[in-house]
């Protein structure tokens, strides 16, 4: 029996049952081996934020026209340093999740504020 992704339920259960020990150890090794370091994270995050923003714009094309969503975010400031804006907006992002101010972006459950920042970061 397979579901729509071609993965059998038995395989999923096996992963749930036994994947822990194997995945945990091997995963840690792989992380060490792939050469990634904390220095790479900002560039990686900036690219990821743009990718997310593109998806946000597609899913919610009017988001940046919604004053309630944009709030007091300065579009120019955010555009100049979107990662910094994201970091500065942490309390507001967490409040969005607490209050249910979330949007669906390709299935991701995301804070409205982080969606706005991502949309600004992405090319129009």
């Amino acid at each position: 029996m397979t579901d729509e992704r071609g993965l059998t339920r038995r395989e999923v259960l096996a992963a749930l049952a036994a994947g822990g020990a194997a995945a945990l150890g091997v995963g840690a090794l792989l992380r060490a081996r792939d050469g990634s370091s904390d220095d790479d994270l900002p560039a990686e995050a900036a690219g990821a934020l743009k990718a997310l923003g593109t998806a946000v714009r597609a899913a919610h094309p009017d988001l940046l026209d919604d004053p309630a969503a944009v709030g007091d975010l300065d579009v120019d400031d955010v555009g100049a340093d979107p990662l910094g804006a994201l970091t500065a907006a942490r309390p507001r992002i967490e409040a969005d999740y607490a209050e249910g101010a979330v949007l669906d972006v390709q299935g991701w459950v995301l804070s409205r504020t982080e969606c706005v920042i991502a949309a600004i970061a992405a090319p129009a």
Partner: protein, 522 residues
């Protein structure tokens, strides 16, 4: 002791104070309890001691409804349960977690909810069930298991809680075989298929159980009390097949209605700002408790107040965790990947970037739906008994609860900066990565509100318990309404399915049933 119905004289009549039909978890639990109280019990088991193809084929039934499934993934109604000594515990996974009080509550927003049985009365029997199931404790909370070295919960707050289930090592067919073989009080009659119940003229007292073998043998069991313990599909089938007036206990056309399953399906991924080893509690872990090795696993459930406030059905989420930097990571066809969201999390949360990816295996409660039901067809099986058909539908609330419930899990992760969650509703396709998670790709364009839902192999509520005969088939003592001496055991008596695997609860209810039967027989 064990006997075999194939060795009976054709037309032989057997007499017993109590006849239990079915030697699965419920039937064996009840038979052992009654024997311990000094009662003689005859247990009728359709199969033998091992799997037999021709016996299993007696489970074949027609399926209709929205959940019939795609052609390559139909509901495995024949194999989802097993028809030999030990019943479906011969292939069960062993997941045990009691229902919670909220599962038994009448909840706003649900058209039918609530058990008439007080939670305290059910909970009184869980310790007995834990013993039968070989569990070490009747404690299922994270705080208790933390004392035994089980890892900390990721979430445990007013949106999403962590629960712990134990895995039972007990296969009833092997664990209790020797005991029942040695028993003088319990006779297990193998290859004995109950094909009908006969009543006295009033129609209220069952006097006989008709028994047939696949070899053409016939026998009759005269019993003072009869208990049906054949599972959520066969219990209603036998009731419906047992008289010409629409079935025993069916004055209100409820026998077989409200069939419920637990939806069980991969419906999301989460990226989490914790390394995989910090989430180890959500995989199976074995701990030593008082010299006994116990396997437990944590899962996420919606907080009780959320269920009440939002009018949602219950939801449990099990996690399969991998390192986000490893190869065992799902891909994305077109859109931001799980790694992208993990990186974004690093800027958006003080917890830092995601370190883990967790597959979300959803386990969801179904709404009671009167159109989902077991019926009889005009076809007959190899025993000459009318075959059953199952019409199984889902409701809009079933799907809405899953979607909304996963969003709440996503919110719970987000408000603590712990992670982000993606619902993958029907858009998973085969991937080419390594490991179970890496063999999955997410194709966002394929998401559909009519996403496929798979099953948990649990058959419930088809002879539901209710004090009012117009609302259920059995009363709070599990006696069939309108009958004097006919009882039902098993998950078919659940008033609602709840959101925990049913075995521990059906064993608790079977243990409880020994009380009224003991009084009646004494």
């Amino acid at each position: 002791m064990f006997r075999d119905a194939r060795s009976l004289t054709h037309g032989e009549r057997l007499r017993t104070p109590i006849c239990v039909v079915g030697a699965g978890a419920a039937g064996i639990t009840l038979a052992r309890d009654l024997a311990a109280r000094g009662h003689e019990v005859l247990v009728l088991e359709s199969g033998g001691l091992d799997y037999e193809e021709e016996v299993q084929a007696l489970h074949e039934m027609e399926m209709t409804g929205r959940l019939f499934g795609p052609a390559d993934d139909p509901y495995p109604v024949t194999t989802t349960r097993l028809r030999y000594f030990g019943g479906t515990t011969n292939h069960w996974a062993g997941y045990c977690r009691p229902l919670r009080p909220v599962d038994l509550e009448t909840r706003p927003g649900l058209a039918r909810s609530g058990w008439d049985l007080p939670y305290e009365e059910l909970a009184r029997w869980y310790p007995a069930a834990t013993e039968v199931l070989g569990l070490s404790s009747d404690r299922f909370d994270p705080a208790h298991w933390a004392e035994h070295g089980h890892g900390p919960p990721l979430l445990h707050d007013d949106l999403v809680e962590t629960v712990v289930f134990q895995l039972s090592p007990v296969n009833f067919g092997t664990r209790y075989r020797d005991e029942l073989e040695r028993s003088e009080a319990v006779t297990v009659l193998l290859h004995a298929n109950a094909t009908g119940l006969r009543t006295d003229e009033s129609g209220r007292r069952v006097t006989e159980v008709a028994v047939r073998t696949l070899e053409g043998g016939q026998a009759t069991v005269e019993a003072g009390v009869v208990v049906l313990a054949m599972g959520g599909l066969e219990n209603p089938r036998l009731l419906l097949a047992s008289n010409e007036r629409g079935g025993i206990g069916n004055d209100h056309d409820l026998v077989g209605r409200f069939f419920c399953e637990h939806f069980q399906h991969t419906l999301g991924f989460a990226v989490v700002a914790r390394p995989p080893e910090a989430l180890a509690a959500y995989h199976r872990q074995t701990h030593e408790v008082a010299g006994q090795e116990v396997t437990v696993q944590s899962a996420l459930v919606l907080n009780d107040d959320v269920l009440r406030r939002e009018g949602l059905l219950g939801l449990e989420v099990q996690l399969a965790v991998a390192d986000l930097a490893g190869d065992d990571v799902p891909g994305t066809i077109d859109g931001p990947t799980v790694r992208d969201l993990g990186a974004v999390l690093g800027a958006a949360s003080a917890e830092g970037p995601a370190r883990s990816v967790a597959l979300c295996q959803v386990f969801a409660e179904q709404e009671l739906n009167p159109t989902s039901r077991v019926l009889l067809t005009d076809e007959v099986d190899a025993l000459g008994m009318r075959k059953a058909a199952l019409h199984w539908d889902h409701t809009d609330l079933d799907r809405r609860s899953i979607e909304a419930g996963l969003a709440i899990v996503g919110r719970a992760l987000g408000r603590r900066g712990l992670g982000r969650l993606q619902r993958t509703l029907g858009n998973l396709v085969p991937g080419e990565g390594e490991g179970p998670l890496g063999r999955i790709d997410i194709d966002p364009a394929r998401a559909t509100p009519d996403f496929h839902l798979a099953h948990g192999n649990h058959h419930m509520c088809t002879t539901r318990m209710a004090a009012d005969p117009s609302q259920g088939v059995v009363d709070l003592d599990l006696r069939v309404h309108g009958t004097a001496n006919l009882y039902v055991a098993g998950s078919s008596v659940f008033a609602t399915p709840g959101v925990a695997a049913p075995t521990i609860t059906l064993v608790a209810l079977a243990a409880r049933l020994a009380d009224p039967l003991d009084r009646e027989l004494s």
